[in-house]
Symmetry: C2
Subunit: 159 residues, 2 copies
DNA sequence: ATTTTATTTAGATTTAATCTAATTTATTTT
DNA sequence: AAAATAAATTAGATTAAATCTAAATAAAAT
């Protein structure tokens, strides 16, 4: 039984609306989806139980909090078998907020957030020190031009 | 007047707790921060007014919704002056959920989410068709090993 | 020291979340 | 196709939280 079959347009519409603003009351979601608020509750509990909706988080403007630099890091390992241990070490560095195993030249692809260039320098130093990391390439984010949630479609168009 | 000076550890602690679970009732946040729930409200309104907290969104397991492939794209432009118009065109492609202006070799660095390899193929085709794009490099995400919110620190340690 | 200003709080009111039982809708069986 | 069963949805009641207001406290300025 395919999980995706258990998901209908009501579910997707609810996810879509809450993705725009996770604090929207279920009563309001209910009106927009043309069901009762009870149904919204039931559907959301189902989505949470299925692990589809994992949590709700804030969308924060980090630069306004003094975290002015975010950057992507392409990390080259000495041996790709070191992946797991390097990831464990990167978890110890709190500025690393994402890390991925990707196809392409990099062994690990990561995202970091820092306060300023000095902070960035320190973080890069700490990352270079991690056993098994050969070298890194840094892509500093100068502008975020698109940042939006996924949009769902069915045969009839946007949900 | 520096905005960051208006933010104290109470604010950061509130942001930190709500970042873990944006649906946590303010009454519960209040207990953990040792202030009244009214104060949590006031602080959150301040943070929203200052544009620091922009919104709350869901953390969704896209693979369970049938979106099995996410990928980063390094995009090379014919001329870097085409940045703005290319971004406008990328906004029309709903699978593009992030796009950045970054240092490094790429003119644009983007993230896309697709259902399967067929869908990825279509999306890549559509992106290649965008006027001004020279070529792209695709980094397909095979595993997300770290995904967490930023952690705040002051002189005394983690907030 | 006194006034002014800002922040926090307790308590009241409004609003929403959650639960339950009943109804409706859909599915299966005969 | 009709009856029986199962599943989903709803209205309404209860519980809990958000929001507002006015008073109290604390901080800053004169």
């Amino acid at each position: 039984m395919d999980k995706i079959l258990d998901i209908d347009n009501v579910d997707l519409k609810i996810i879509s609306l809450l993705n725009d603003d996770a604090k929207t009351p279920y009563t309001e979601i209910a009106k927009k989806v043309f069901v009762s608020s009870g149904t919204v509750h039931v559907r959301m509990r189902k989505l949470e139980d299925m692990g589809i909706v994992k949590s709700a988080t804030l969308n924060i403007d980090f630069s306004k909090l003094g975290y002015d630099i975010s950057a992507f890091l392409g990390i080259y390992l000495e041996k790709s078998s070191l992946y797991d241990t390097v990831i464990e070490n990167l978890k110890q560095i709190s500025e690393v907020i994402n890390a991925y195993y990707t196809t392409g030249n990099y062994s690990i692809f990561a995202k970091i957030i820092c306060k300023d260039t000095n902070h960035l320098r320190t973080v890069l130093d700490n990352i270079q020190k991690v056993e098994g990391i050969d070298r890194t390439e840094t892509l500093i984010v100068l502008e975020e031009s698109i940042n939006r949630p996924i949009q769902f479609f069915d045969k009839t168009g946007k949900i």
